[in-house]
């Protein structure tokens, strides 16, 4: 990602971000609500057009990937399935759009623990189930890169532990896991590397342990960086 900016009128939501995300570890993308995390992730996926700069995924812009779901799996919103569609139907059209074998639909439903709810319509899903379906969609193409925007939002403690372990295991398989959150405790538990942003600018790009440094906790370190 190089010099990425996004302005809405005179407001700069994202202001000259440059960083590189590496495979094999969970990279946390930390910032307050409104710091520019979601906007950045939407630009990574080509959903929003940057005002300046660009994002390259293995050297190419997202829009140039031929079967993007097999390269990048993304969770942007909890509820992205049409409320009237059944869980497996939502995954089926996604698979068809990227020539992903139909067998992957069953595989990811099982992986996220929705095999018994696969014929339910999305509107009947609790927040936790919707989140699992969204994660199933991200995993569908077995992608080496995962972008997850606030994945623990709305999950119960069991769900939070589940996704934490999932992210760690995905990274251990050598995948790139980029996860945004405004929850400091969650980041301390899952991420190895941190990118901290505020007002659309990078404040820190370092390992979690180096970030905490002499502070007593991640929280303490975060507040110090923000106030600087």
């Amino acid at each position: 990602m190089h010099n990425l900016s996004k302005s809405y009128g005179s407001t700069k939501a994202v202001d000259g971000l440059s960083f590189t995300i590496h495979p094999g570890r969970v990279t946390g993308f930390l910032g307050a609500n409104g710091a520019g995390k979601s906007t950045t992730m939407r630009m990574m996926l080509g959903l929003a057009r940057p005002s300046t700069g660009h994002v390259l995924i293995d050297g190419v812009p997202y829009q140039h990937l031929t079967r993007p779901l097999t390269k990048v799996g993304a969770l942007l919103e909890t509820r992205s399935a049409h409320p009237g569609r059944r869980a497996y139907q939502h995954l089926r059209w996604l698979a068809q759009s990227n020539n992903i074998p139909a067998s992957r639909v069953e595989a990811v439903l099982e992986e996220v623990g929705l095999q018994n709810e696969k014929s339910k319509r999305a509107k009947g899903f609790s927040l936790g189930m919707a989140q699992r379906l969204a994660i199933a969609a991200a995993l569908l193409g077995d992608p080496p890169i995962l972008l997850l925007d606030e994945p623990v939002n709305g999950l119960d403690p069991e769900g939070i532990i589940w996704i934490r372990e999932l992210m760690k295991s995905l990274a251990a398989q050598g995948r790139t896991v980029f996860v945004s959150s405004h929850l400091l405790g969650e980041m301390a538990n899952t991420a190895e590397h941190l990118i901290v942003i505020d007002h659309g600018r990078v404040l820190a790009d370092t390992t979690v342990s180096a970030f905490i440094g002499e502070s007593t906790s991640l929280e303490d370190a975060y507040l110090r960086v923000i106030q600087r």
Binding site: L45, P68, E77, G84, Q89, S97, A137
Partner: protein
């Protein structure tokens, strides 16, 4: 990609209901209008008009479908998943149109043929022989007006906003405003009005009041131009805007 779009169409219950409504409205009203023309004393009453008039109401259901095809993506947030899966927006839009058009064309054909024969049954002794040009024209028209709605909805991204424009536009025509001389100068070029000649909806032949400066096929071509313009407008918005 087209397969994915077909799956989307197939897996929404609203698709089934609006298709059923289109068919039922056209065929049911076609029969009733035929019946009401059967006993009219006026020898000049136009049986061809009666055979096709139901389209002006039945089309509403299909227009709703044309709007939903794209507006449901925005209302449900599926558009994010769709564009992440198919980031080239032109391809996404083409795939959607390529999936929608044949489905709507087949539905239109079945509906219009059925409507014509329902109207014939209603007309009884006043029935007219099978009018291949009218049936073909009405079939193409119904498909075009549905795609026109898709184009408008792609520009506006909301079902409510799109229908707020489309419904008055289409009722304006069917309520006969198109035949008031001064207003007609303009309204005769509206996307639905241009197809009225081929469907025999412009009034009795030879009457100066209902005369149009274009023929049946030219009129249908004008509707096609409207549709093309709406779709190009939709594509421009889709390509330019963030989602």
């Amino acid at each position: 990609m087209i397969r994915a779009e077909l799956t989307k169409i197939r897996t929404l219950r609203s698709t089934f209901w609006v298709f059923l409504a289109t068919f039922a409205l056209c065929v049911g009203l076609g029969f009733l209008i035929g019946l009401s023309f059967r006993n009219i004393a006026d020898a000049g009453a136009d049986s061809l008009f009666a055979s096709f008039y139901a389209v002006t109401l039945g089309q509403i259901a299909l227009v709703v479908f044309g709007v939903f095809v794209i507006s449901s993506e925005y209302s449900s947030g599926t558009i994010h998943a769709s564009l992440a899966a198919t980031p080239r927006r032109g391809r996404f839009f083409l795939a959607k149109l390529a999936a929608t058009t044949p489905v709507v064309l087949v539905l239109s054909l079945v509906t219009i043929v059925s409507m014509f024969f329902a109207a014939r049954a209603g007309l009884g002794p006043r029935a007219v022989p099978f009018d291949a040009r009218g049936v073909a024209g009405a079939t193409v028209y119904l498909t075009l007006i549905c795609l026109f709605a898709t184009g408008v909805a792609t520009m506006l991204r909301s079902a409510a906003g799109s229908l707020a424009i489309l419904l008055p536009l289409l009722f304006l025509g069917s309520q006969g405003l198109g035949n008031i001389p001064k207003v007609k100068t303009i309204t005769q070029y509206l996307p639905d009005q241009t197809a009225w000649v081929i469907m025999h909806l412009t009034g009795p032949p030879g009457s100066a009041q209902f005369e149009r400066p274009y023929g049946p096929w030219t009129g249908l071509a004008l509707t096609a131009l409207w549709t093309l313009a709406a779709l190009l407008g939709g594509y421009a918005v889709l390509r330019k805007r963030d989602v």
